[in-house]
Amino acid sequence: MLQRDINFSVSSGEILSIHGPNGAGKTSLLRAIAGLLEVPDGCIAFRLHPHDIIANPEERIGMVGWLGHQDGIKGELSLRENLQFHCRYNRCFGSVQDALASLGLADLQDLPAQYLSHGQRRRLAFARLLVNARSLWLLDEPLSGIDSRGKACVRQHIQRHCEMGGIAVVAVHEPLGLKSASLELQ
């Protein structure tokens, strides 16, 4: 459930990290921003240009780069096929090879994804963001289960994404380790 009286805005180039104990509504807030969850009495809007404001959840939903609690990986498909599908589905042409390589998964790319460890799956899910080229990233615990080298790699990608004008809203239960605005949920 979402708690009352949450107010925030994030602009291009910024990272917002959302903290709070389990059950505080971090995931719900991310889902609400994405347009996956209805907010009966509240308003969430994306401003693309000064006069182009999008508040309708069904329009918002097609604009976010989503990394949910679950990885959304098909075990029967290889790593490359998993990414290639999302690439085609989202009509993007980011390089699957580069994305896999930059997260240290290049050697595994032809294996079925079901052989991956938890941390590797998380990295593969993160790689999806790199091929999809959305400017607003909504990340639910992107670091969970990933080893320290992988964590550094993910942090670096978030940092670079925002330096290039993107936005990242990240729900975390441990400190993110990046310079970011922070929102504390009770």
Binding site: A34, L36, L37, E38, P57, E58, I61, G62, V64, G65, W66, G68, H69, Q70, D71, G72, I73, K74, G75, E76, L77, E81, F85, H86, R88, Y89, N90, R91, R128
Partner: protein
């Protein structure tokens, strides 16, 4: 483009055993060949019941894999990703219906001659069975998808799926059996027309209901 990618993915998953294609086909083959054992294998008797049995069995077989149509994507988080893509929920629903048709109905269609042979139907009856299954399955996939989207977050959704879907499919079973009958008797009775019309209407209208069901289960 996005739709094709999604359909292609589902076909690939099914070909690697991710869906329930094998289950549906095996169920259909088993049940259709076992029915004559419960009936006196007199040609006339089998001919009379063949149409109805084949339609009911193909609907039940398709329902077996319908349970998983959205469930698998819902549980592993893929559905959220599909929804955040460029497709509207309606197009997403239509693509999933098409994917179900390719991965379940098409294999059923391929083995439907087996059912005709098990029912001891002559050439014309075999044509009737294949035609009936071909025309009926789009409606089964479409109407079944409504049930699958509504039972998505239910705990034992698969159990009540037949209860929800089968009454809605009564016209398919009636008209489908009518198609077999008309081919067997060589008499035109309009069943082909009615069945096609029902399938067309189901395929055109049900994506809206499926989208509404998905919206409910994703966002409520």
């Amino acid at each position: 483009m996005s739709s094709l990618a999604l359909i292609g993915r589902d076909i690939r998953l099914a070909s690697r055993g991710g869906g329930n294609t094998f289950l549906a086909v095996a169920f259909f083959a088993t049940i259709v060949t076992l029915v004559p054992l419960g009936i006196e294998p007199v040609a006339g008797l089998l001919h009379a019941v063949a149409g109805g049995i084949v339609m009911l069995c193909s609907a039940l077989a398709a329902l077996l894999s319908l349970d998983n149509l959205f469930q698998a994507d819902f549980e592993d988080g893929s559905l959220e990703l599909l929804v955040t893509g460029p497709l509207s929920l309606e197009s997403l629903a239509a693509s999933k219906i098409a994917a179900h048709w390719f991965t379940t109905a098409l294999p059923l269609l391929a083995i439907s001659p087996l059912a005709a042979i098990a029912m001891d139907l002559p050439g014309a009856g075999l044509v009737g069975v294949v035609l009936a299954v071909a025309l009926a399955t789009p409606a089964v996939s479409a109407v079944g998808a409504i049930g699958a989207s509504l039972t998505l977050s239910a705990k034992r959704g698969g159990l009540i799926l037949p209860l929800i879907v089968l009454p809605l499919l009564a016209p398919v079973i009636i008209f489908g059996a009518g198609v077999v009958r008309s081919k067997l008797e060589g008499a035109e009775n309009g069943a082909v027309l009615y069945l096609s019309a029902f399938s067309l209407a189901a395929v055109l209208l049900s994506p809206f209901a499926v989208a509404a069901g998905l919206r409910t289960n994703l966002s409520a």
